[in-house]
Symmetry: C3
Subunit: 322 residues, 3 copies
């Protein structure tokens, strides 16, 4: 349940300064790490924590080699955060307990579903007819993959995920709404991770598409006919309405809401809590949040906000007078 | 896996212009439909797409008969969108693969639950004691219907739906909060559809009520004691706090938030992302969204917003002076 | 299926004025309660309802003894709301139907999980290896407790809850994002209630912590490494991003969004729908909501909001002139 510094650099590379025989019990945050733990420093903001850290070893970038050495053992790596990510994977791998069965007996899998090599399906999952899971994909538990939906290779779907429920489509009729049957599917690329209780609806006519490398957090809703471009990251509680097209390498903050039938360009960043009501054609950071305040101040400002347009008119009138 | 134009109008009506023997492989969006596909045009905004469409047939309203004929085969229908909805149902019906068992053996159904005729219950559902499901209602998979809750006829509940979990009620006591047991139930009408992972809580004393024809999207929260009027539509990620009363024929946009203990009249439309903090007594469209902007502009405007009330006072003072 | 007033005060105390033999069929809201029902009045706002109530008995505070007596039977209690909460518990207890098995046979529980005395686990739950559930804790149905997570005593987890799914952590790499394995767990205290389909992610290195007495509503997301202080209440649809620290005795309104890596002091109240982007160090009520309006008014004001900073500059210029 421990690795030596020598074993770590043998597996992950990096330039070790210090005794390779030192045993490390766990990775830990820099500020709380003790002598049997290894921390990392990637954000220069936290550099003041370096000298004070009691960590047995610290992962740092080349430009921090000197202050790190002054403190004690270190591993110098070009990208300490990436190194740390790989270290967590090494940790998980070397400390893994024996796995249960690849396909849990309580999972309900249609005989027509196609499962790639090394697929793992946890308890109480449902994989409907015609669904396909790529090599090495993992459905943790209680995941639903509806009929004809396709998941790529090396994906991870966390508990409660629902892929391919019906999109939300109804036509008004004389006696209430008439259901538009959702005839499309969901197609998810490789290396996609989808958080707990997130829902991705099947397309109405065409498919809902999530491209390679997309990472989606918990409790996110992706409506029918959406397309999410490769390596885009979507944080928790976000809603994306139907037929939105989101570019590649976007970052969508938590609890954002994106309207349907619009297009967001590649490399757009949306701040958490923002509402996107129109297409965005240029990369950049976009925000729309009411700033929080003590309630009394908010009440006054919010009340005035309802007169804002008339305030502008009054200001204009004054300007004319002068 | 195809229908002829003749078979379509025989089943759904409408005025066919073109060869009834033409085989249609699938409905498709107008802009991407090919010669073996059928599209529709309901929104006049998309009329320019008509002439360019390669669709084997287009469903149009009577006033577009001429331009549609000029293009090729068409079906003229009074309400093309409704016709299209019924076409998707025809498609689903005629292409259905054989169903599995009506009640999946992995579902856990209390013997005291009452199931109507033609009820279908998918894998890993739970139906607790005293619950009732009306004729033809479908619980897709992993749906929870808690004790004594009632679901009407022809409802569809998608995976992960939770009906009748405890409402959120606690009284402050000397040693922390004391649970208020939720003694009511949930009563859902006929023809209601409820999206994946949506939750509708049971009432505290009386019942939470969802009337006939209501359509609720994914990841929606309906608090205890709410009443949702007939044929109201609620889009995804919306939250409705306890004891809210929402009228009939309302449309609630996605990620809206509606406070509790208020009343919304019939035929009120709430824009997506809006926060409803007070009752609304007149039909109409209501909105409250901070407009998104590039982050730098937003920062300046949001900072100024915190002084808005004092700006108004300064403007007033200027006006007095002049 | 009824209790006499005498039985109620024997169990819960309080000063009964009226015939102890009167049979009460159910607690009910004051405004709709009939002669076989018992209501309560705690909010002085509703005092006008007292005289008009047809309830068989009313629970009131000492200062309402006289008007309550003038109306009919009453129970005088120091805290009528708390009394009412305990009455609902008495009701539930005395009307309980026989329980099913403590551990439902469809639940999947790892043999290494440790279950306290009186634990109840409903259908289709999953409890992974190394997980621990304290005495008297209840997993209603379809609850997921991931490996090594700890739940205290007397907790209630509603259907669809996911405890200990991976936190959302990725490092950018040359070929896309690299997963940061989440090596921490979730530790939940005693007397915690967690609503349907809520997710609490496991920590990245350290643990995510929810302290004693916390109450969390439905569809809430708690990110990795968060700490929620004791007796804090979090309403539905709220999102709390990773590494946020929330104090004790806070009240977080529904659909609030709290950014990560910030600290909120004890006894802070956040209004529903507010976005918290910075730490809050003093108790109080904080709000940030765009006020809803009819759509036409909103459009004018929202458009002007995008010029707010420049309006301020124009106002300043005018002030200088004068």
């Amino acid at each position: 349940m421990a690795l030596t510094l020598g074993e770590i650099v043998a597996a992950l590379g990096g330039e070790l300064h210090g005794d390779p025989g030192v045993r490390i019990e766990a990775p830990a945050p820099l500020e709380s790490a003790g002598p049997q733990q290894i921390g990392f420093l990637s954000n220069p903001r936290y550099r003041p924590q370096l000298a004070a850290s009691r960590a047995g070893c610290v992962i740092v970038a080349p430009d921090l080699r000197e202050p790190a050495l002054a403190r004690g053992a270190c591993i110098v790596a070009d990208d300490p955060y990436l190194y740390f990510a790989r270290l967590t994977q090494l940790w998980k791998r070397t400390h893994a307990r024996p796995d249960g069965p690849a396909i849990h007996p309580s999972a309900v899998i249609d005989p027509s579903a196609v499962l790639g090599q090394g697929v793992r399906i946890g308890p109480h999952c449902v994989v409907e007819r015609g669904a396909r899971l790529g090599d090495g994909t993992v459905l943790k538990a209680r995941v639903h993959v509806a009929e004809d939906c396709t998941i790529g290779a090396r994906c991870i779907l966390h508990p409660g995920v629902v892929i391919g429920a019906d999109g939300f489509g109804f036509a008004p009729g004389p006696d209430g709404f008439v259901k538009i049957e959702q005839l499309g599917t969901v197609r998810i690329g490789d290396d996609v991770e989808i958080g707990a209780n997130t829902c991705i609806d099947r397309g109405a006519l065409a498919d809902t598409v999530v491209e390679d490398g997309v990472k989606i957090d918990n409790l996110v809703q992706v409506g029918h006919n959406c397309r999410i471009g490769r390596h885009t990251v979507i944080s928790g509680c976000t809603g994306i309405a139907g037929s939105a097209t989101i570019g590649a390498h976007c970052m969508i903050g938590g609890a954002a809401m994106i309207l349907g039938h619009l297009t967001i360009a590649d490399r757009v960043h949306i701040s958490a809590g923002s509402f996107v009501a129109r297409s965005i054609s240029r990369p950049g950071l976009y925000t729309g949040i009411f700033p929080i305040d003590d309630n009394a101040s908010w009440e006054k400002n919010a009340a005035t906000l309802k007169q804002l347009h008339s305030l502008r008119e009054r200001l204009k009138a004054l300007e004319k007078k002068l």
